[in-house]
C-alpha cells in the first residue's frame, strides 16, 4: 500500500512553505525534515520534555503532539523566528546568553519559544511566576536557577526594548 500524501501550506516565521506529507507526519518532523528548520528539537516525542515547543498562533504548543496537516492554516513560530528582523538576538535569546541559561543547548529552543509567549502574557513575572512558566520543560544540564534568572532578565530586556521603540 502506498501511503496517501497531503499537499499542505505551512506558515512558519512569516514565510509560506509548501510540502507533501503523509497525514501521520508530526509537525516537529515536518519542520525539521520537510522544511529544513532544524532549530526545533525532538526529545521524548510524547509531550513530556518540551524541546519541540513552537508557537501556534502565538501560543506555545508541543509540535510532536500535532500533525503537520492539522497545523496548516495556522501561524507557526519556531526558534528561528525569534531573532530581531536585523538578525540581532531577540530579548529571550540575549537573556539566555547573559545569564548562562544553557549548556548543551538541546532543550533551549523549547525554553526560548515558551518564554517568549510567557513574557508577552506576563511582562513582569516574579521569580515564582518565572519558575511556573518553564515548569513544563526539561533541561538535563543547566539547572533551572539560571534559566529562571534568564526569564526575569528577558522580561526586563523586552520591557526596555518597547520603551526604546516607543
Amino acid at each position: 500500500m502506498t501511503e496517501q500524501t497531503h499537499q499542505i501550506r505551512l506558515h512558519v516565521n512569516g514565510v509560506e512553505h509548501e510540502a507533501a506529507v503523509p497525514a501521520r507526519r508530526l509537525l516537529s518532523d515536518a519542520l525539521r525534515h520537510d522544511l529544513g528548520l532544524t532549530g526545533t528539537h525532538v526529545g521524548c516525542e510524547h509531550g513530556v520534555c518540551g524541546a519541540c515547543t513552537v508557537l501556534v498562533d502565538g501560543q506555545p504548543m508541543r509540535s510532536c503532539l500535532m500533525f503537520a496537516v492539522s497545523a496548516a492554516g495556522h501561524e507557526i513560530t519556531t526558534v528561528e523566528g525569534l531573532a530581531r528582523p536585523d538578525g540581532e538576538l531577540g530579548p529571550v535569546q540575549q537573556a539566555f546568553r547573559e545569564c548562562h541559561g544553557l549548556q548543551c543547548g538541546f532543550c533551549t529552543p523549547g525554553f526560548l519559544t515558551t518564554i517568549t509567549a510567557g513574557i508577552a502574557e506576563n511582562p513582569d513575572p516574579t521569580e515564582d511566576e518565572a519558575r511556573d512558566m518553564v515548569a513544563g520543560n526539561l533541561c538535563r544540564c543547566t539547572g533551572y536557577q539560571n534559566i529562571v534568572k534568564a526569564v526575569c532578565r528577558a522580561a526586563e530586556l523586552a520591557r526596555s526594548g518597547e520603551d526604546g521603540a516607543a
Binding site: A23, R24, L26, G47, P60, S70, M133
Partner: protein, 288 residues
C-alpha cells in the same frame, strides 16, 4: 516511534464529521491530540481513520449560567481555566484544571477530550463524577445526554459509541452553603498525580449535612465516596480519620513505578482530611 499510517479527514461541519466516523468502525476523533498522539506514536493505538474535529464551528464555547458551566468540545483547558465566570459559578473546575498537565499542554488539550479519554489519573473525569455532571454527544441517531454515572465503564473506557462525537460537558453550579477543595500530590507540579482528592461539603451553620470526596489515581476508574455518615455532622480529628477509613474501603490502591499501594493509601488518608477540612472552611466562608 512514529504513528502507523491512517486516513485523515478534517471536516467543516458536524454532519460531515459524523459521516466520516459512521463509515469506519476503526475511526477515531482527534481533538487536542494531547493524549491520542502519544498513544499513536507509541503504537498503542492504530486507528484506520482520524477525524480531526478542530475545524467544526461553534464548539469552542464556555457558557456559564446560574445552573452551571457548559464547555464545548473545542474549548481548550487554558480557556476554561482563565474564564472568571467559571470560577464564580463552579470554583472546583479551575481548582482542578490548574493541576491538569502544564500550561503548554493546556493550550491544546480540550476539557471534553479529557472527559472522553476517561483516564482515572486525570482530574476532570473525577470532578465531573463528584459534581454529578453530564456529557452531551451527537451520533447518527441524534443528540443524547450521558449522565456521568453512566459514562465511566472501565479503565480508559467511556460509554460513548465509536460513531458519536462529544459536543458539550455540563458541570453543575456550586450549591448554596457548599464549599469545595482540591489537592493532589505529584512528583512535579503538572505531572499526573500519584493521588488526588477533591471534596464537596455542605453545611447548616457549622454542622456538616453532606460531604463527598472524589479520588484520582487511586483506583482504575474515577471514584467518588460519600463521607456524610462517617463524619457524623462535624469535623474533628476522629471524624476525619473515620471518613478516610470509609473512603479506603471503597478504593483499591495499586502499586506502580511511582508509588506503592501503601503509600497511595497513606496519601488518600492525608489528603481526605485536608480537603474535607478546607471545603468545610470554604462552605462557612461562603455563608458569611
Amino acid at each position: 516511534m512514529k504513528p502507523a499510517p491512517f486516513d485523515y479527514a478534517r471536516p467543516g461541519t458536524l454532519e460531515e464529521a459524523l459521516q466520516a466516523l459512521a463509515g469506519h468502525p476503526e475511526a477515531k476523533v482527534l481533538a487536542g491530540g494531547q493524549s491520542l498522539v502519544p498513544l499513536l506514536s507509541m503504537r498503542l493505538a492504530a486507528p484506520a481513520v482520524l477525524v480531526d474535529i478542530n475545524d467544526l464551528p461553534d464548539l469552542d464555547h464556555v457558557r456559564v449560567s446560574a445552573d452551571g458551566v457548559r464547555i464545548g468540545a473545542l474549548a481548550r483547558h487554558a480557556a476554561v481555566l482563565r474564564d472568571p465566570d467559571v470560577a464564580r459559578v463552579q470554583p472546583l473546575v479551575p481548582l482542578a484544571l490548574a493541576n491538569v498537565a502544564h500550561a503548554t499542554i493546556r493550550n491544546r488539550g480540550t476539557t471534553v477530550g479529557s472527559l472522553v479519554h476517561a483516564d482515572a489519573a486525570a482530574e476532570m473525569p473525577m470532578v465531573l463524577r463528584l459534581l454529578d455532571g453530564s456529557l452531551d454527544v451527537v451520533g447518527p441517531g441524534g443528540r443524547r445526554t450521558i449522565p456521568v454515572a453512566e459514562l465511566y465503564v472501565g479503565p480508559l473506557e467511556s460509554s460513548l459509541h465509536h460513531d458519536e462525537i462529544a459536543v458539550e460537558a455540563f458541570f453543575p453550579a456550586l450549591a448554596k452553603h457548599t464549599g469545595v477543595a482540591f489537592e493532589e500530590i505529584a512528583r512535579r507540579h503538572g505531572d499526573y498525580a500519584m493521588c488526588g482528592v477533591a471534596a464537596v461539603v455542605t453545611v447548616d451553620g457549622d454542622r456538616v449535612v453532606s460531604a463527598r470526596a472524589g479520588y484520582l489515581s487511586v483506583s482504575d476508574i474515577p471514584t467518588v465516596v460519600d463521607l456524610t455518615d462517617a463524619l457524623d455532622g462535624s469535623i474533628s480529628d476522629a471524624s476525619l480519620a473515620a471518613a478516610a477509613e470509609v473512603a479506603l474501603e471503597q478504593l483499591e490502591p495499586e502499586t506502580d513505578i511511582h508509588a506503592t499501594a501503601d503509600y497511595r493509601a497513606h496519601l488518600a488518608r492525608v489528603l481526605t482530611a485536608r480537603v474535607v477540612t478546607a471545603a468545610h472552611e470554604n462552605a462557612r466562608e461562603a455563608r458569611s
